[in-house]
């Protein structure tokens, strides 16, 4: 019996090759995508799980830091103090990260991801030492531990232990490699290429004792055994009071710390200066899209089976008359489905491997074939295939096996009209899903274009930015002079900060008794506002030739005007203000107000900002910004390299373009756009496969009708119209359904942005027209064939 089932199943597939290819390839594509998606979800959900008892790991965060909102970072003294004073904190480590840092060994020189860590790092996190030893590797200030791939990059096969690295700008730090650790896995929140002990930090920059200065430092700890985080948290108020009551009157409201579980960070964190890039929305989206794809392919399968009902019905009734019972018939049809899905499943695994590079591009992961081909992957592949097979198979099986033999043989089953209706419903569903995905793609793309245009209104001009070191910043006037000589360069300026490379937040107040406002600080050299293209709305710009400007003049942004409660921008001009606090405080005058400019992601509200000439001697330019003609990009690239090379042979200039930097800030959105885009393509493709199948079926069904109509004088165009119109009408209905749904979804998505576009009608026109055109293509292929065929052939067929 089983053999007979299998044989018939195979012959069915072979005989209906066209439909079989359609449904198998559709299923394979969508199952393949599902599998990739599963591996993505698996990787995201297993974030930070490599640590020992990861649920005991916490990060110190700020619910409110100096009235400025939530922060993932913490001032430097907090970590050690918590470790000493709270017995619930078993071990604590700080992880301070700044910009990428230039490191050098002989002629090898690259910008690297550097962190300062405490020696207890390896007690908190899992760090696997290949060379050296976790306990001692960072015991001395001159030591550095490096990752395995870093070691390969700089030292090749040579033993890195004992080698000396030059870290930071020329002559800054020389550290000896004391340990090599295995690279962090992809799905980890805290990671770096090389780490220096905090003792090095303190010997270079002085003791880390400021409780009101917020560097890019994260504090993590391991909760002691046999206690709970609530116990530790209950002690926070007393802890803050101990340390800040004498420094800060409003410490209770404005210095609120909390402990955040490490495992929540990747997907659930909404703290400012977050280092992890996970996005729960993207995750759900991917899951949803995978389901939709599976559904579409499943629909195709069901369509493919039901389309053959009339033909199969004859076979079923003959079998019944001869003696088949219902169970054996169900068995037979299930076997066909299982065979189809199994074939699709094998193909899906092959496709998943083939699509891996593309998927990495879309998802931002870097999966290898080895990450994919693991037991859980095959297990889930099997599960998906079984599930699809079962669901897609049971409906036709029950339906077909339930026929009364006589009715079925006469081809007279009333259910047919129902099947026909549901089949049409399915086509509508498929195309609606495709259109929704198309609209989503277009909206994301438009929003990203909006970001790009806001940053770079003139296509002909472009701002390039590169990082400099202390030596170069001392020589800034020469650097500026030489860059100005380069053809195409319009303006050059330096800044302690530039847009996108932010994170230098300082308190500012109008006088000692007024509230403090945290402002993003830009300590600049040269015509910074003009170089960046920021627009003044009141007062005047900074002027380096005026001594008063060099010594206490502020240009603030509109948001800062509001934060200080000035009635208008003009009213702010001329007012005096205090920048900084304690020993690092500077008084000056507000001389101008600049229109709000973007320096962070478009998701976030623009924060208060101040632009001034360096208020303190130690505050230096870390960046050089160059406004230039975009068509001179290549020339500038080489010129910057050469100029920097001559001024400081030890430095290495890496030119970034401002609009690209902003795009980097919107990685997640771009990624979602790519996801929408590729899945829109897939969905459309699979839907078209389904449509093609249906049209073919319908043309086959109506062969005789078409023949008779032709004999009676119907024109080819008439036949073509008759066959295509039905289906195109379905696509139109799908479009009408997709419009409100996609509008709702994408409005929702856009609301995640503080600065955003409105969805335009053009998006719908584009999505609609393309869906329609593609459907048209699929439909006309078959309709045309039927229309062109010789009537005699179609009549003889019956």
């Amino acid at each position: 019996m089983f053999k007979n089932f299998l044989k018939v199943a195979f012959r069915q597939l072979r005989k209906n090759r066209f439909y079989a290819i359609i449904s198998i390839s559709g299923l394979a594509l969508s199952i393949g995508c599902c599998l990739l998606m599963l591996s993505y979800l698996q990787s995201e959900w297993s974030y930070d799980q490599q640590n020992h008892q990861p649920e005991r790991l916490y990060r110190v965060v700020f619910e409110n830091y100096l009235g400025q909102g939530k922060f993932a970072t913490t001032p430097l003294p907090i970590g050690p103090a918590l470790g000493q004073e709270l017995p619930e904190v078993a071990s604590v480590t700080r992880v301070a990260k700044g910009l990428t840092t230039l490191t050098r060994y002989q002629d090898k020189r690259f910008f690297e991801n550097l962190a300062f860590i405490d020696t207890a790092f390896a007690e908190v996190f899992h760090l696997d030492f290949i060379e050296g030893d976790a306990a001692t590797a960072l015991a001395t200030p001159q030591s550095v531990v490096i990752s395995e791939s870093y070691a390969k990059k700089y030292f090749g096969d040579a033993n890195p232990i004992g080698k000396t690295l030059e870290i930071g700008s020329s002559g800054a730090l020389y550290s000896t490699v004391s340990g090599v650790f295995r690279d962090f896995p992809q799905n980890t929140t805290v990671e770096f290429d090389l780490a220096l002990p905090f003792s090095t930090f303190e010997s270079a920059y002085g003791p880390a004792e400021l409780w009101q200065q917020m560097p890019g430092n994260y504090t993590f700890f391991r909760l002691a055994e046999h206690t709970s985080i609530e116990v530790a948290e209950a002690k926070l108020t007393a802890f803050t009071e101990r340390h800040l009551a004498d420094q800060l009157d409003d410490w209770q409201q404005n210095y609120q710390m909390a402990f955040q579980p490490l495992l929540d960070i990747h997907l659930h964190s909404d703290y400012g200066r977050e280092s992890s890039s996970g996005n729960l929305k993207t995750l759900y989206l991917l899951g949803l899209i995978a389901l939709i794809l599976l559904l579409i392919a499943g629909i195709n399968y069901v369509n493919y089976t039901t389309a053959r009902f009339p033909k199969r019905a004859k076979e079923v009734s003959i079998r019944k008359i001869i003696g088949a019972n219902r169970r054996s018939l169900i068995g037979q049809f299930m076997m066909e489905t299982v065979l189809t899905t199994a074939l699709a499943g094998i193909l899906a695994i092959v496709l998943a491997n083939l699509f891996l590079p593309g998927f990495n591009l879309i998802s931002g992961k870097s999966f290898q074939a080895a990450d994919l081909n693991q037991p859980w992957f095959y297990a889930s592949a099997l599960a998906v295939i079984m599930l699809v097979g079962l669901i897609a198979g049971i409906f036709p099986a029950l339906f077909l096996s339930g026929f009364r033999p006589l009715e079925a043989m006469k081809g007279k089953f009333h259910q047919l009209s129902m099947a026909d209706l549901s089949r049409k419903g399915l086509v509508v569903g498929q195309f609606a899903a495709s259109v929704i995905l198309l609209v989503a793609t277009l909206v994301v793309w438009q929003q990203m274009e909006y970001v790009r245009e806001s940053i770079r209104p003139e296509v002909s001009e472009q701002v390039g930015v590169f990082q400099i070191n202390g030596k170069l910043s001392e020589q800034f006037p020469i650097l500026q002079e030489e860059l100005q000589q380069v053809a195409g360069v319009e303006r050059v300026a330096g800044g302690s900060n530039v847009a996108t490379f932010t994170g230098d937040s300082w308190p500012m107040q109008l006088d000692l008794n007024s509230p403090k406002v945290q402002t993003e600080n830009y300590a600049v050299q040269g015509a910074f506002l003009e170089t960046m293209g920021y627009e003044l709305i009141a007062g005047r710009s900074l002027d380096a030739s005026r001594a008063s400007d060099r010594n206490g003049a502020f240009v603030i942004n509109e948001t800062a005007v509001k934060a200080f409660d000035f009635p208008s921008a003009a009213a702010a001009v001329g007012e005096r203000a205090l920048f900084g606090s304690g020993k690092s405080q500077k008084e000056g005058q507000i001389i101008g107000v600049v229109k709000d400019f973007h320096f962070q992601s478009f998701h976030d509200q623009v924060e208060p900002a101040v632009i001034q000439f360096a208020p303190f001697d130690w505050m230096r330019s870390q960046f050089v910004a160059v406004r230039f003609q975009s068509d001179e990009t290549d020339r500038l690239q080489t010129a910057v390299k050469e100029i920097v090379q001559t001024l400081d042979p030890n430095w290495h200039a890496d030119l970034h373009f401002l609009d690209e930097q902003f795009m980097e800030l919107h990685q997640n959105d771009l990624q979602q756009g790519r996801i929408f885009g590729s899945f829109a393509l897939l969905a459309i493709f699979i839907s078209c496969l389904g449509l093609l199948g249906l049209v073919t079926y319908s043309a086959e069904q109506r062969t005789k009708e078409i023949g008779i109509r032709k004999v009676l004088g119907a024109s080819m165009a008439g036949i073509f119209r008759m066959l295509s119109m039905d289906f195109l009408r379905l696509v139109l209905i799908a479009f009408l359904i997709a419009v409100p749904i996609s509008w709702y979804l994408m409005t929702n998505w856009l609301e995640g942005f503080t600065y955003r576009i409105d969805i335009s009608v053009v998006v719908y026109l584009l999505a609609g027209i393309s869906a329609f055109a593609i459907a048209m293509l699929a439909v006309s292929f078959q309709s045309l064939r039927a229309a062109v065929a010789n009537p005699v052939e179609s009549l003889r067929n019956e």
Partner: protein
């Protein structure tokens, strides 16, 4: 073997009600070869289908092999059917996806005959029907006459007690038709009971009794003289 009393079949569609069989009483004994004749639409096929247990009557009694089957469920009918009845249709009704051999084998599979015995019995009937040389062909590769021979082979492979044939020669030329009729006569002589619907007086006379129908009723039952 077959005995009906007041058999009624009413087809109900949305608006019309057609009485296809109106109080039909027939009796067929073991070993008979009965032909049913009558104008188109008089209910011949309907009767045959009910007698063949692939349809159920709207009213009346039907005794088949001493079972009162008029209220049997499809499952019960299916069981009686596969062990006792063979069907031959005007349009052959072979399964296109199966070869000649597999089509003939099918009833044996459903009655759970072992594979070795299946092969022997299929080969035997194919031999008998002179279709051995085409055993691996698919139905579309055969002529009408050949297809009907395969259908006959399939109907008899299980040695059914009753063979039902609905216009078995309707789609065949006269020489192929004759072949089928001779086979039926031969099967009858070997002991099978045969019930055949036909439009041709010539074919009807191969049987030993003719039932004439008109408008859902049996009008006469005359015995064919020469076979008595």
């Amino acid at each position: 073997m077959i005995k009906t009393k007041g058999l009624v079949k009413v087809y109900r569609t949305d608006e019309v009600e057609t009485t296809a069989l109106n109080e039909v009483d027939v009796e067929i004994k073991q070993g008979e070869f009965v032909s049913i004749m009558g104008p188109s639409g008089c209910g011949k096929s309907t009767l045959l289908n009910i007698l063949g247990l692939i349809d159920n009557p709207s009213g009346g009694e039907y005794h088949f092999l001493d079972h009162e089957v008029s209220n049997y469920s499809e499952r019960q009918r299916s069981n009686l059917r596969k062990n006792n009845i063979g069907f031959i249709f005007q349009s052959f009704n072979l399964i296109d996806e199966l070869t000649v051999f597999e089509n003939v084998e099918l009833p044996l599979i459903y009655t759970k005959v072992g594979s070795k015995e299946r092969k022997e019995r299929v080969d035997e009937v194919l031999e008998k029907m002179n279709m051995m040389h085409r055993r691996n062909h698919f139905p579309q590769q055969l002529s009408g006459g050949q297809q009907q021979r395969v259908a006959v082979a399939r109907a008899i492979v299980n040695n059914p007690k009753l063979i039902l044939a609905d216009e078995p020669t309707g789609n065949l030329d006269s020489s192929n038709g004759d072949d089928v009729m001779k086979t039926l006569v031969h099967l009858n002589q070997e002991g099978a009971t045969i019930l055949m619907v036909t439009h041709s007086q010539y074919c009807a006379e191969f049987g030993n009794r003719i039932i004439r129908m008109l408008d859902g009723q049996v009008v006469t039952e005359n015995v064919v003289q020469q076979y008595l």
